[in-house]
Symmetry: C3
Subunit: 283 residues, 3 copies
């Protein structure tokens, strides 16, 4: 499972192509997500051009994960029935080869979701997405944040995130003012985005769903996550330009997700790649 | 339970009157609906002038269905507790004569909701609402869509929808670019609406709630469904005129539901009625 | 636990200070709330400057209530698992001294939530918030409203609300065209607000969360509730000035919650205080 070290140029070019492919393919994205953000998440996927399906009950979550294009498992409000659905879906996704994203919301100090996250990560998610506190908690190096706050600098996660990515055989995506994405070989930093995303509930959670939408459309997970983060954060920048506050931002963001064009990715990407060692590749 | 064949003129006139009555009566609409669209559905009902009540737990759903003006049962995310609540509410609605709408979201391939839909349809919903795939699945003629997508042309459902309506003794409403409504005698086609409704989660689900709001205000279910679909899709057209994308459309749509006037129905309705046989009545 | 009789001047001044403190402290507000309004509630807290955490499952709700800044228990859609979480959280909040708000949505005629509300009120919530029907039902003097409607004039609740506040050792907040707040000694009336708040689902429920956000920042609960209601309703007035209907109002309201300034409180407050006896203090 060897991976090439990426260059910003090819990553951005592949991200643009992935967005065009998403609009054409309308991937079916199964979301097992928290009760706070289900509507916003479905609307973000619809706006982008994907097809959301919130199939999250036992008896249906598994069969559906076998046929969906991508799967999100978000642990924000993990009711007992949803926990069973998550385990069922992950097992079916593993058998079917459906790529999946684990978003371990507020993991660390809260016992139920922490146990579930530790259990699910053993099934090797294609992508683990969280803020710095959450990623460190999954890596066994922290106690997590309070709620969904990120109390830890993203840069402090580079080593643990890379090690975790290698052990998972997937990608770890750390959200923050600068997002850090790594497959354990390359470390991608993306400086796009706006603080308004932290003022809208689901600003992070919907990104997990968008990553799941890009996974089936890219040659490899790091490209898919890069495409998802660039599309999402560049649309957010466009929305922030028109926003008077968090309410109008959320509305403009959905409009921007529908309008953002593959060429916008190349024009606006603020991308930086180094090797995970870390040997500098390109600034 | 004989019904007259309808004419567009009387249907549109009755629809206008029903909207005026809804604003005056503020019917209490009980919604047992999916977790993705609860907020949007409640907001659509409030904007329109109805009074939403999301009473969806066992022990309360039944008693409330006995006193509510109308009931929606939507199977989008049918947790175990909600399935029990749905059966309890339908039983109580049947005894009390409360009109009710069944929206069998994504029925067909997903086993839990398909079994529940087949069970509930035996209790003869006043209205069955879905896209073409869902209606065919309930009619036993298809495997349903993937998620909430409609993969089947609405026109292909005319025969099965009419037969199903007759066997239910109610109305079947098939959503699509042109909506098809039938009580098994008349077939109403409504060409109002906008594709943006398919880009907002709950665009179809909230219509089910709006139908439930109109049911207690009309002489018969076909008039109520016609009034609901006309009001909903004409408001959507007005909203689309101002929208820059799906986010601003959803906002403008709630504003339009509050503003749409009974006279707008007569002015903008694009209605066509034939007999279910099908003998042409009026183009 | 003697309390001074408040004057409008000190209440408004303290409310302004509390808003400034909230922006600085970003209190962590745990919400156990209904499925209809979770997203809107979290967005209202984020816009205001608080940090929402919808931790509502057994096994996590209790531990979290021991460390959160404030807790909301809203009974709008009380699933079985959430009822257990509510009891667990209230027990932990009581031990830890975490202030908490009980919002007994639609209590009275619906048996499950009525029993739970009666049980929880024995644990002495810091604040009980509801419409007039709900407050009277908790006080044992009414059968509640239909759904979330308020069928009873707020003024009719002054005596029962004051008695209930004294027996709880807390504050009772009655929402209506004029809000009535009382700790059993002072009765505060606030005439700010807009009827558009009743046309957005969560317009009342999110206020409960905002009250929970202010509780840890004020010297006493009556000041906190006054600060919450003033901030909320003055922001709503500012939003209503720009709104074309309920959809655009909800968006503008989130923008206004982010923008409302402590000095706006002093400028726009419409406040009236009497003693609960009722001896007039100031008009």
């Amino acid at each position: 499972m060897s991976r090439m070290l990426r260059t910003p140029t090819t990553l951005v070019s592949d991200a643009s192509s992935a967005l065009a492919a998403l609009r054409h393919e309308a991937p079916l994205v199964q979301c097992i997500t928290n009760s706070v953000v289900t509507g916003f998440t479905a609307n973000a996927l619809l706006a982008l051009g994907a097809s959301p399906a919130m199939v999250d009950i036992p008896g249906e979550a598994g069969p559906f994960a076998g046929v969906s294009s991508g799967l999100l498992v978000n642990l924000g409000t993990p009711r007992e029935e949803q926990r069973r659905a998550a385990r069922e879906a992950v097992a079916a996704a593993t058998i079917a080869g459906t790529p999946w994203v684990l978003d371990p919301v507020a993991v660390g100090s809260l016992p139920i979701r922490t146990a579930l996250a530790n259990n699910l990560v053993e099934s090797r998610p294609t992508v683990l997405r969280g803020n710095a506190s959450e990623v460190l908690a999954v890596a066994g190096l922290g106690e997590g944040g309070r709620g969904t706050d990120a109390n830890v600098a993203v840069d402090a996660t580079e080593g643990p995130a890379s090690a975790l990515a290698r052990s998972m055989g997937g990608v770890v995506a750390v959200s923050g003012p600068v997002d850090l994405l790594t497959d354990g070989e390359s470390v991608v930093r993306i400086a796009n985005g706006t603080a308004l995303l932290t003022k809208v509930t689901g600003g992070g959670c919907a990104l997990g769903a968008v990553i799941a939408a890009f996974l089936p459309l890219s040659a490899d997970p790091l490209t898919a996550v890069t495409a998802a983060v660039l599309t999402y954060t560049i649309a957010a920048e466009q929305a922030a330009a028109d926003a008077a506050g968090p309410g109008s931002f959320a509305v403009a963001f959905l409009d921007a997700l529908a309008a953002v064009h593959p060429t916008d990715i190349a024009t606006h990407a603020k991308l930086h790649v180094v090797s995970a060692s870390p040997r500098l590749v390109e600034a």
